[in-house]
Each structure stands twice: as C-alpha cells, then as structure tokens.
C-alpha cells in the first residue's frame, strides 16, 4: 500500500534515574547505537538498522517514565496539514524548533486525553545503518552487539481517556484499529492497538486511572531465536526480566519484557501479522483477556498489568 501521512514511530524521550548507568545499559545490554549527546545532557540512540539519527533519547530525571513519543510524517507539507487538522479538531498544538533535538527538524507537539505528549515531525538526518546504500552487506558488528533490535517499533501507554485517544488517532492522524480488548460490559474498550502502517501496532493504549504513564517501549527482533537470545543476554547481565519469553494472543507476537535500570519496561519481540487499513479489527472478550495477553499462560499477571512508570 502507499504510505503517506504519518509514516512510523520516530522517537521517544525516556526519563532515567542515572544517565551513565542507563547509557551503558542501552548500549551493551539492549544493543542500541549511541549517536550523540546534546548541551542539556541528553543522550541519543538508534537501533542498528535504523537510518535516521535517533529513535531513543535518554534524559536524566528524578523519576522514570516517558516525556514524549513522536511519529515521523511524510514531508513538511504533511506536517503543516496535520497541525492544522489537529487544531481544527480542537487540540492545542505547540511548535518545537528544529535543532531542539539533535539532527531533528521542527516538531508539532500536542497532549492527548490519556495525558501523554505526542509529537509529529518531518525531518531527521539520515545517517544510514552503517551498511551503505550501494552493494550493502547484510549485517555488521553493531547488529551483533547486545540484544541488537532492528528498530524502535511501538509503545504501550497507560492513561484514563483511551476513547479520546482512539478518536484523535483514527479521525485526524489516519490510524486504524487493529485489535482491542473489551471490558465485561462487552462495549467499553480496556485496551486498543492502533496502526498507521502495515504493522500490527504502532501505538497501543490501556485504560488506567493515572495519566501519562508508560507501560513499555518496544523494539523489533527478526526471529523467535533472537527473542530467546535476548532472554539469555538479560540474565547474563543480571538485568530485571518481567515476563517471557512467551507469545501474545493479541497481535501473535513472540516476546520478552524486561525493565531498564530505572524501571522503565521495554519489550523485544518478533512476528505478528501484517494488517491493512481495511482489515476487520480483532476483538478479545473479557473472559479471554488473559489468553490475549499471554497465550501460553492464559492468565492475567498482576505485575505485568499494574507496574508502570
């Protein structure tokens, strides 16, 4: 399909409690590539196979969690149009000047009803994946260091008004609903998985009383074997594993969840399926929500469901 409008998740700024400890963790355990540091002390990373300058930005703070999550849009005209559309919808938007984030153009920032800051931008410097654009090799040293996911894939955010978020993402930003979990009443969404592309999810939300919370940020691996290797690397580094390796019923992904050294949950996963905008959404009912979340256990897990930053 032709991809226009919002292209993909582009970057997330994450709060960490100790920046140097976290840099070491994201470099050597997760296996991301450090690409820069700015005057305010933020540290920039990308996954090895990503071509744009950064996708994860760490900021030292006294509490963990997410500052903002951003999507790259096709071009500057698209950015202008979406900004106007968001304002016409009734949202207040803010312009963050080019260069505020290293190698990143102007950003349009707005708050959604779950209490999260979402950004759109059109420009980020292409630094390449290290393989070159002519006669490239299939992999490189960076692809073999640490867990080494290929890209930032999606995030799952917790907040109160997920219906409001669904409305904005589907009506203004061109996303479509891929899967959802219903509450006992058979009508109210407990959780939603949304795509702006051909992926099973680009962003997801769970209904939760506290606003602005991060459940996890997710990175893509290519095989189930890579997920098992990730589990080994986590334990070899005495890193805190939450749950897995296992499979989700929802999206069918094979996965492992763990915590970074500030308590932010991250996922590395592979698989799932490729929906299109005309794909019928998949519904998980209240009585099978445990199966939807962890297909092998078929049961809910309190820590996975309730620990957020």
């Amino acid at each position: 399909m032709a991809m226009t409008g919002v292209l993909r998740p582009g970057h997330m700024q994450l709060r960490v409690l100790d920046i140097e400890e976290s840099v070491k963790f994201y470099k050597d355990v997760v296996g991301l590539v450090e690409t820069g540091r700015d005057a305010s002390g933020r540290v920039y990373f990308k996954a090895w196979d990503e071509r744009d300058h950064n996708s994860l930005i760490l900021r030292e703070a006294d509490r963990a969690g997410v500052d903002f999550f951003a999507f790259k849009v096709l071009d500057k005209a698209t950015l202008e149009k979406l900004d106007a559309d968001l304002q016409a919808y009734g949202l207040k938007t803010e312009r963050i000047p080019a260069g505020d984030l290293l190698e990143t153009g102007e950003r349009v920032r707005f708050e959604i009803p779950t209490g999260h800051l979402i950004e759109l931008y059109a420009e980020k410097t292409d630094v390449g994946n290290g393989l070159g654009y002519t006669n490239p090799n299939p992999w490189c040293a960076q692809s073999e260091h640490g867990i080494a996911p290929t890209r930032l894939d999606h995030c799952l955010l917790y907040g109160p008004d997920i219906d409001g978020a669904l409305d904005i993402f589907t009506k203004v930003l061109g996303f479509y609903l891929v899967e959802h979990v219903l509450l006992e009443d058979g009508k109210t969404n407990l959780a939603i998985w949304l795509s702006c592309s051909h992926k099973a999810h680009d962003i997801a939300f769970v209904r939760h009383p506290e606003p602005g919370k991060l459940h996890h940020v997710s990175f893509l691996l290519e095989t189930w074997e890579d997920v098992l290797r990730a589990a080994d690397i986590m334990s070899m580094n005495k890193s805190s594993i939450d749950i897995g390796p296992t499979r989700h019923g929802i999206t069918r992904g094979t996965t492992i969840y763990a915590f970074d050294n500030s308590g932010n949950r991250y996922e590395v996963f592979c698989g799932g399926y490729q929906p299109y905008p005309d794909s019928h959404p998949i519904t998980w009912t209240w009585d099978e929500v445990g199966t939807g979340i962890f297909f092998h256990d078929r049961a809910l897990n309190d820590r996975f469901l309730s620990v957020v930053t």
Partner: protein
Amino acid sequence: MATYYNVTIEETGETYRCSTEQSLLTGMERLGKKGVPVGCRSGGCGVCKIEIVEGTFTKKVMSREYVSVEEEAAGKVLACRVYPSSDIRLRVLGKMAKNVCKVAALEADTALLG
C-alpha cells in the same frame, strides 16, 4: 567474600540472608522468599516500598514519584535500591496496584452510573 546479614519482614516474621552486594529485594527473590511485592526491581515503580525499622544500609537513586526526600531520610525506601550493612528489620509499605481490569471495570461502571 561477601558479607551476609539477616533481614526480617515484620508482617510475616519471614527472615532471610542477604549479602551486602544484593538489594533487599533481590536477596529475597533469589532464595524464593516472599513478603515484599516485586515490581520493576530498578527503583522506578514504587511497588517494593518498605520502611526500615531497624538496621543500617547503603542505597542507590530511586524515583521521587514514589519516595520523597523526607521519606528517604526517614528510612522509607524502595527495597530494590537498598543494600544491607547490618541486620535489618523492615515493614512493607508498597503494594501491587489492583489488577488493571478490575480498576477499569469499576471505572466503567462508575462512568455508566455517573
């Protein structure tokens, strides 16, 4: 060689040995003991909050979202960021939030009523 101390959880009377190189939470988990709820194990989520009733310890940075400066000074800390330097008696303050489905269901009910 690592030095070990006795850690006692007041509520349950459970006692376990914890080395100076392990956090109180990791020490508990490694021996398969229970009593302090386990969250992120990294100082960020506040689930393993405890009060040190007796004993001395060293600590690493923990999220201000869940532990204020005053609380930290008063020994109200996160078990995953605290390492024993003597025998320890602790009281459990943190708890796992209620299952999100129950919370959400309750909210939806209230919304329908309201």
